[in-house]
């Protein structure tokens, strides 16, 4: 046998009878459920009614155009995008503060994390939106933004921030979401920094790097690599959690869904559809991150 020859193909894990029985049981359960849905529930399914709120036919132009649910989805995406960016910034700063010697910074970051992690999100959003952001935004002049100005009235702005009229609401929502998720990112970053071995600190100090340099050149790059997977998970959580800002008049997917379901009374179709939309969104991000991670792992070898 030649040592360079490829290995024999690994034995495939085969389906055992137990596996087949289990699969059969699950399939039976699904079929039974489907059967009972129609037998037990008194419900008139009307999918076109709800699908119409995703894409509707516009008789004037003769084309299909986006409708409420799709706009909601777009808003959710925008929220998630900006929320992630901001939460990452907050998380990195606060996470670093969690590990420093300075007591001021440690107290601040610690209280931030504990506070947020121990209040229900709903309540946090309330307090933040009504008491804090209603102070900050008028002070920044965001409430009176000129909707026709050149800064605002272009397609890039619309893609990034949505309807200019709702800008201050949108920003408040993003800020809320970012503050909220930032607490979790903080803990992830802290864990990442602490996961970098003591030896790295010592070696970097031993070649005479200052504390800042050690952090910037040695610890952070390694920590960031370590925290990429949990950070990806947090991003997906953020997409899902973005539904809580519907409370403050931001018309993202969940809010649109409530409107549609109460207008049409087609509760099941709406929520099944919206559930599927969230799933597709989150799952494709999960796949994307998985792929990126694997690529990064390969290139590091």
């Amino acid at each position: 046998m030649d040592r360079n020859s490829p290995p024999p193909a690994p034995r495939r894990k085969r389906l055992t009878p137990v596996d087949i029985a289990i699969f059969a049981a699950v399939a039976a359960l699904v079929v039974y459920t489907g059967y009972r849905v129609n037998a037990v529930l008194v419900y008139h399914w009307n999918w076109p009614r709800v699908l119409n709120f995703v894409l509707r036919y516009d008789p004037e132009t003769g084309r299909y155009v986006a409708n409420l649910l799709l706009y909601g989805l777009a808003t959710t995406l925008r929220l998630a995008l900006w929320g992630t960016v901001l939460a990452t910034v907050i998380g990195i700063v606060m996470g670093y503060w969690r590990t420093v010697d300075n007591l001021t910074l440690r107290i601040l970051s610690r209280s931030y994390v504990e506070l947020i992690r121990n209040i229900p999100p709903l309540v946090f959003i309330f307090i933040f939106y009504f008491f804090i952001s209603s102070q900050i935004f008028p002070a920044l002049g965001l409430d009176d933004l000129d909707a026709e100005g050149p800064l605002v009235d272009n397609w890039l702005f619309a893609v990034l921030f949505g309807d200019p009229a709702l800008l201050s609401n949108f920003l408040a929502g993003v800020l809320c979401l970012a503050m909220f998720e930032g607490a979790y990112v903080t803990e992830i970053v802290r864990a990442g920094i602490q996961a970098v071995g003591r030896g790295q600190w010592e070696a970097a100090r031993a070649i005479g790097l200052s504390r800042t340099n050690v952090l910037r050149d040695v610890i952070m790059p390694q920590a960031l690599r370590k925290i990429l997977p949990p950070l990806a998970g947090q991003f997906i959580t953020l997409i899902k959690d973005s539904s809580i800002v519907s409370l403050i008049s931001i018309q993202e997917l969940t809010f649109a869904a409530t409107e549609v379901s109460s207008t049409t009374t087609k509760v099941f179709e709406t929520w099944i559809l919206v559930g599927a939309m969230y799933f597709v969104l989150c799952y494709s991000f999960a796949l994307l991150f998985g792929w990126l991670e694997r690529r990064a792992a390969r290139s590091r070898r």
Binding site: K13, R14, D19, V37, P120, I127, S134, K240, Y278
Partner: protein
């Protein structure tokens, strides 16, 4: 060697030597704490300003009956207290079920069984990639009537399945966190699979699993607020009903937040004490 006999205790020595730098250190600490307090005061001021700018007529004098009433010398608990008790009950039952689901799923994922792995993976992906709210609606309106599950249990099961997916990952992480050498050690003295997990792996993974699992319980309490959408009478539901009746949104939200904070902070502190004692016993 003889020097050791006359030696002052290390504490004395250090005290003498470091007296100067200790004082400096303490001052630095005090000033740092003061700075932090300053920031808090600033934040508090901002919130206060926000509240004042709203011109809201606070009606705190109306909230007492939300907690209790005394009718004919008899104490009757108000909606918030009853809601809190329901919340705790809900979280406790859902927590136990979530942990069971977590163990089953974790082992299914770690096992060799094809069906176990596929089903566990499908469950995890489905739960992880959809919002809890949507799951709750589907579960309550579609599945519950089919299987004749009532509201309270729909809420519990839905929460349990949701948190169970996190529990599964925590447990799997804990089990995989046990060093490979321990598996090999167990194999090498000829332990069977069951014995290996029972005597070697699970006992060692528990210290890794328990702290995050108690953290999970905290998030379960917070997430339980969401079952208010299917009208299970817990704390948030009680709060929402009060708001609907009186429109005193801010007072009620603050009270509800305070109650949640009290419960979760108590638990958080217990967790960190518990973690600390675990770490100490490890040494």
């Amino acid at each position: 060697m003889p020097g050791r006999v006359a030696e002052p205790t290390p504490r004395d020595l250090r005290r003498r030597e470091q007296a100067g730098s200790d004082v400096r250190m303490i001052w630095r600490r005090i000033s740092q704490v003061a700075q932090a307090v300053l920031v808090f005061v600033l934040l508090g001021y901002l919130i206060w300003r926000g509240a004042a700018a709203m011109d809201y007529g606070w009606q705190w004098y109306r909230v007492e009956p939300f907690f209790y009433r005394v009718i004919d010398g008899e104490l009757i608990w108000g909606p918030l207290v009853r809601g809190l008790i329901q919340t705790l009950k809900l979280a406790a039952i859902a927590g136990v079920i979530a942990i069971l689901i977590g163990f089953v799923t974790a082992f299914a994922r770690l096992s060799q069984s094809v069906s176990g792995r596929i089903i566990a993976t499908c469950y995890l992906e489905a739960i992880r990639n959809t919002p809890l709210l949507v799951q709750l609606f589907l579960f309550y309106f579609v599945l519950a009537p089919i299987f004749g599950i009532d509201r309270f249990w729909s809420g519990i099961l839905c929460l349990a399945f949701f948190e169970g997916s996190f529990a599964a990952e925590i447990i799997r992480g804990g089990i995989q966190g046990v060093a490979r050498g321990q598996y090999e050690g167990a194999d090498a003295i000829g332990l069977g699979v069951v014995d290996k997990y029972r005597f070697i792996i699970i006992p060692q993974s528990l210290p890794l699993i328990l702290p995050p699992l108690t953290g999970l319980l905290i998030s379960l309490i917070k997430h339980s607020a969401i079952v208010s959408v299917i009208a299970v009478s817990e704390l948030t539901t009680a709060g929402l009903n009060l708001i609907a009746d009186t429109f005193m949104a801010f007072e009620v939200w603050f009270l509800v937040a305070g109650l949640y904070l009290a419960v979760t902070l108590t638990l958080s502190i217990c967790v960190s004490l518990f973690e600390r004692s675990l770490n100490k016993s490890k040494r």
